[in-house]
């Protein structure tokens, strides 16, 4: 996980982004149910949750594409629908929202103009974005002909062409290979280093762990936990650890035995939460005594996945 930078204490007027009691309903469905969040300067806040949890709706409400039923959103103290707020906000949508028949440079120029850039300022911004996205060599290539990873990078560059101070990234790594993903992580870290506040939605736990200073776990439109990774794990598990064990034999018998000892089966592996490592021995002795042959055993500190499972009873990618 990226180390959390020193974050100054801010009032809501100077906070890059402040959301208070956001509610959005689509008919009978409450997609966002009272979300409150603050994002600080240079901070990367992760919105972690499964598909349909409400992450994208929160993002779309911030960017003005969804009108909330209640609640408020401010950027540097200005209402999200004000011109000042729009100018300070960048958005990288989940979809590849670029013009496939324009070149990379033409795409960036077009989006720059949509944000009111012109002349030298526009040219400089386009050059900076091409450099940031490592697309200088492909500046004259049609966007539609780029590889998946390059399209993603261009999609991100188009979202920050006007050099915003707050950037919303909605699952920017969907469908890219590991190499391109690393490149994207470097781009995000470069932005943060310049003081940009970032809201990053993902359902990839490892991305949230690597990039985000704080993580908000969102499920059914509500934030069910918020803090640094360590805080989330500590709040959910304190000093407890997880024992992962695989046994040979009838799955039904194993499952019944695991349940009777306070554990659960995840992907054919028995999971137990223990306070002290010495408890492993007791568990294994009991298994041997009941006739289960141990195939594999390991001790693991809980991670975000464990936190999510613990809080919701479901896996992150269900």
């Amino acid at each position: 996980m990226a180390s959390a930078p020193a974050v100054p204490v801010s009032s809501s007027a100077t906070l890059p982004l402040s959301i208070d009691g956001l509610v959005k309903r689509f008919g009978a469905l409450t997609a966002v149910d009272g979300v409150s969040l603050d994002v600080r300067q240079s901070e990367c806040l992760g919105l972690l949750g499964p598909n349909g949890a409400g992450k994208s709706t929160v993002i779309r409400a911030i960017v003005g594409r969804v009108i909330p039923d209640s609640g408020s959103i401010t950027l540097f103290g200005a209402r999200a629908d004000s011109t000042a707020a729009r100018e300070s906000l960048g958005w990288v949508p989940q979809e590849l929202a670029i013009y496939p028949r324009l070149t990379c440079r033409e795409n960036l120029t077009a989006f720059g103009r949509y944000h009111g850039l012109a002349g030298k300022q526009l040219a400089e911004s386009v050059a900076w974005c091409l450099d940031w996205a490592a697309l200088q060599d492909r500046a004259k290539d049609l966007a539609g002909k780029l590889s998946g990873g390059m399209k993603r990078r261009l999609n991100m560059a188009a979202g920050i062409i006007h050099r915003p101070r707050v950037v919303l990234m909605d699952e920017p790594t969907v469908g890219v290979d590991p190499q391109s993903r690393n490149r994207i992580f470097e781009m995000i870290e470069a932005l943060r280093a310049q003081g940009t506040a970032i809201v990053y939605t993902t359902h990839y736990m490892e991305e949230a762990e690597r990039l985000c200073d704080r993580i908000a776990i969102i499920d059914h439109g509500r934030i069910i936990a918020l803090g640094t990774k360590e805080e989330l794990v500590h709040n959910a598990f304190a000093s407890r650890s997880q024992v992962l064990a695989r046994f040979a034999g009838s799955e039904d018998r194993i499952a019944a035995w695991v349940e009777s000892h306070g554990g659960r089966i995840v992907d054919s592996t028995a999971e137990f939460t223990i306070e002290r490592s010495i408890e492993i021995g007791t568990l294994l002795e009991s298994a041997a005594k009941d006739g289960f042959e141990l195939e594999d055993v390991s001790l693991r500190r809980p991670n975000l996945e464990s936190v999510f499972l613990h809080l919701t009873g479901r896996e992150l990618r269900e």
Binding site: R65, I67, T83, W91, P93, A97
Partner: protein
Amino acid sequence: MILPIVRTALVSLRRDRAALALAFMLPVGFFTIFAVIFGGMHDTTPKITVILVDEDQSAASHQLAQGLEREASLTVLLRPASKEKSAQPDYTAATAEAAVKAGDSPVALIIPKSFGQHPIAFGPSENATQIELLNDASDMIAPQVVSGLLQKAAMTSMPVTMAEQGMKYTDRYIGGLTPAQRKTMESNLDDLRKLQSSGSLNTASSSAGGFSGGIVSVHARAVVGEDKKSPAVSYYAAAVGVMFLLFTASGSAGALLDEAESGTLDRVLSSRVTMTSLLAGKLTYNTLLAFTQLTVMFVWASAVFHVDLAGHIPGFIVMGISTAVAVAAFGMLLASMCHTRAQLGAISTLLILAMSSIGGSMFPRYLMPENMQKAGMFTINAWAIEGFTKVFWRDLPVTALWQQVSVLIGVAIVLFLVARRIARRWEFA
């Protein structure tokens, strides 16, 4: 293995409303339009408007005029339509010619002063007084029909004149009649006159269909288009041009749907660009595209088919821009109404082909039944074609286009405003 493939295709078709519409509604719709235009509806046979100027005011000219007025397929105009209940003076030769030039009527007949003295000519060598037929060369059907009906009317509505002239020729060429023969002949002619004046002579019925021998001498003169090298080319440059403009405009406006689907529209609207400025930008682009398309069409028509573009630049620009903005707004409206490209494809094909067929892009509107001609006035095609015809065919000045320009620009404004209203669905969730 064949059956599962058929079943899969059928299920897909059932769920694709656009494909269903194209497959079943389009052919039925077009069959109906063509059937109405060319077939079935006999009660709406096209009527030809003809202006009649009777300079002679003789008994023979009155009989001929009455004969023409009795023809079911002719609408005879003796004077311009009244405006605000003030009676209009009868047409004169000059005003009739001006009316044909202005497109008020495709044909005018002028019965000259001395017509009553020599109304009928039996043979080409005769010096009978010629009726002048003024026509608009863009309508190739009307003068032929009017000419034929004129001969029919002469045959059926002037029996006394026919008999008198026949006797006169008999007397002249066969030899002098004896006083007794002359007396009998005069007596019979008197009887015939009485019959005709009492109305018991049915002069409306006729079996002279297809008669074209020229019993009444006619001199036809094209007062519009006589110096045009390719009469139909400028018409079809506009007619076909407008139809394809409509297709291009709706296809181009469909980019809006692509952008909505790809998320680009959302991104654009999250910048400084508002929905109104976005749609206005698209309208401007589509107008420019349509105008360029028309220009290419007319430059080609000018280079290859000798349409006089260089001599009509102001009129072309005015009509071109008015037409372009109307079709662009039409495309915007269709795109804003549809949810997918497939829907847009089906609906635009249906609407554009229907508009083009009744609006005169496929065949001239004067060939259509009256009701269909009236329906055509609800299409962009008809107004655009009429405007271009005024420019290229009638050589009318730009000021004469005010009606077409007003309608096209008005249509563009209304369609754009409706499109803007419907596009609200893309603005916010």
